[in-house]
């Protein structure tokens, strides 16, 4: 069976932007928007929780880590279902589906951010904390301006990794009819009926290029900053 890739060209606008022109964001643009939005929420939430878990190392930390385990131990698709059904049940009115997916993704990823940020904070040599408080800084200030910047610098690769999985995980929004890249691809497929290989190959390649490009950019950024000394190779 010969392949006919002109179907891609004919539907390219729809695959990339969905109905964005008429006010309903969709396609690849929605995929990226959802990943960015949930990524930012997860980053802020996860780091905030990690700071709390670092500062109160007793039962507060244990409870937070147990919760994070719980969140990570459930398949993402269930979290999406829960939130999809839970939010209308709790608040009566329904929220846009893409919203509930963003919340699910953020919720899921913030657990991962919490984990890696906390381990990044704990990996910093104890002398750093001591040098900070011995200078007269309070524990909160040491955490915020001495430990966290160092931890984040070491964690950037793992954050990029998380963001790449986020991009891929947005395709699960397909289940609840959010018109992101996977969903619009299947729409195009349903409409045209005869080109499933071409269409899903294209979608797959777009995901791949996006994720791979991001990884490459992150790597070269990391090695560039190492060269200019923005990343501390070793601590003194």
């Amino acid at each position: 069976m010969p392949f006919d890739f002109t179907v891609i060209a004919r539907n390219l606008d729809y695959l990339l932007w969905g109905r964005t022109a008429s006010g309903e964001i969709g396609g690849l643009l929605l995929t990226v928007a959802m990943a960015v939005e949930s990524g930012i929420i997860a980053l802020v939430l996860g780091i905030a929780l990690a700071l709390v878990a670092w500062r109160w190392s007793g039962w507060v930390r244990r409870i937070l880590l147990a919760l994070a385990d719980l969140v990570r131990g459930v398949p993402l698709i269930f979290v999406i279902f829960w939130i999809y059904f839970l939010i209308p049940a709790l608040f009566g009115s329904s929220v846009p589906n893409s919203r509930s997916v963003v919340i699910a993704l953020a919720w899921f990823s913030s657990a991962a951010v919490l984990y890696s940020t906390l381990s990044g904070l704990l990996a910093i040599p104890r002398g750093q904390y001591e040098a900070g408080i011995a200078s007269g800084l309070g524990p909160g200030r040491v955490l915020w301006s001495i430990l966290l910047p160092q931890a984040i610098r070491n964690l950037i690769p793992s954050f990029i990794g998380l963001f790449v999985s986020l991009i891929k995980d947005t395709s699960l929004a397909f289940i609840v009819n959010v018109p992101e890249l996977t969903y619009v691809s299947s729409q195009v497929n349903n409409r045209t009926q005869v080109y499933p290989t071409e269409i899903f190959l294209f979608a797959g390649v777009v995901y791949y290029l996006l994720c791979e490009g991001l990884t490459l950019a992150a790597n070269s950024l990391a090695s560039a900053s190492r060269r200019t000394g923005k990343t501390a190779a070793k601590s003194r």
């Binding site: 200078s135 007269g136 003194r236």
Partner: protein, 315 residues
């Protein structure tokens, strides 16, 4: 002035410090020396309350440290440690500026102070200010550590083996420079080392610790001439005469007449007589030239000058 009264500290079953009574006098450099695990660091860290005593009281300027707000106490105490002390994500200048910024100094004053401090420890602010700690040699990093500790001009300086990660040649240089700084600033310094030579060379007074107990607390000359126990005698070693020479500097005993010696061999103005003697022995010369830091000739020193010093009791 720092005073320990009946201070003990237990870690579980380990008695790290055992009934310590010690007074560190104003503007003196007190060296705590002793074998590994003898409690030196623990004693030091009780001054700025990184460690709290299990028993007894620590006073700074007559005030019990436990009664002070801990941040206030620490702002008045510079702290230099070996190894991980600098913040790797901050430039050298930003590292030195940490405490002045905490104190809310205006920007211009901080910048001036950072420059002054780097110059004080022998680093060119233009060249080093913007570097990151991992771009420094071990000796340079330790200099920055000293600059940072001195930045807000605290009256007290605590130093825990600040030079021990540096190679012997650079350690000697750092000691010399630090002595020169201390002569002008006259801080109250508590300096921890396990190196007896370093202790004798730097100290106004030496406290020797063993298993958490203070064995002898005296000026170096007394420690060398009248050790109060076989432990101390053994600890300071058989080469006491040489150790005493390490307390005299070439500057104080040389002949400032511009050198008639044509020997190529020379020592630094700030070197110790011990170094000068070993240079003479090494080069089989009875007289050697003296030069200043910039290698300009400053005079000469001979074996007879060293003998003169050795016969003299104090420096």
């Amino acid at each position: 002035m720092i005073r320990f009264e009946g201070v003990s500290r237990k870690f579980g079953e380990v008695l790290a410090v055992d009934g310590l009574d010690l007074e560190v006098f104003d503007r003196e450099l007190c060296v705590l020396v002793g074998p590994s695990g003898s409690g030196k660091s623990t004693v030091l860290r009780m001054v700025n309350r990184l460690v709290e005593p299990s028993e007894g009281l620590v006073f700074v300027d007559g005030r019990e440290v436990g009664s002070l707000k801990v941040e206030t106490l620490r702002l008045g105490i510079g702290y230099v440690i070996q190894g991980v002390g600098l913040f790797p994500h901050l430039t050298v200048a930003a590292n030195v500026a940490v405490v002045p910024e905490l104190l809310g100094w205006p920007k211009g004053r901080i910048a001036r102070r950072v420059g002054d401090m780097l110059e004080l420890v022998g680093l060119d602010p233009g060249r080093y200010g913007r570097r990151f700690p991992f771009e420094l040699s071990g000796g340079e990093a330790q200099r920055v550590g000293v600059a940072r500790a001195l930045a807000s001009d605290p009256p007290i300086l605590l130093m825990d083996e600040p030079f021990s990660a540096v190679d012997p040649v650079n350690r000697l240089r750092l000691q010399t420079e630090f002595l020169a700084i201390q002569r002008t600033l006259r801080k109250t310094v508590v300096f921890v080392t396990h190196d007896v030579d370093e202790a004798i060379r730097l100290a106004d007074r030496v406290a020797v610790l063993k298993s958490g107990r203070l064995i002898q607390y005296d000026v170096p000359e007394t420690l060398l001439e009248r050790p109060n126990s076989p432990f101390i005698a053994d600890f300071v070693g058989a080469d006491r005469a040489l150790k005493r020479l390490s307390r005299f500097t070439v500057r104080d005993w040389m002949q400032p007449t511009a050198g008639t010696t044509d020997a190529a061999i020379a020592v630094d103005l700030d070197a110790s007589l011990r170094d000068a003697l070993s240079t003479m022995l090494g080069s089989r010369a009875r007289t050697i030239r003296v030069h200043d830091r910039d290698h300009r000739p400053a005079g000469e020193i001979g074996l007879q000058d060293i003998e003169r010093a050795a016969e003299c009791g104090t420096r």
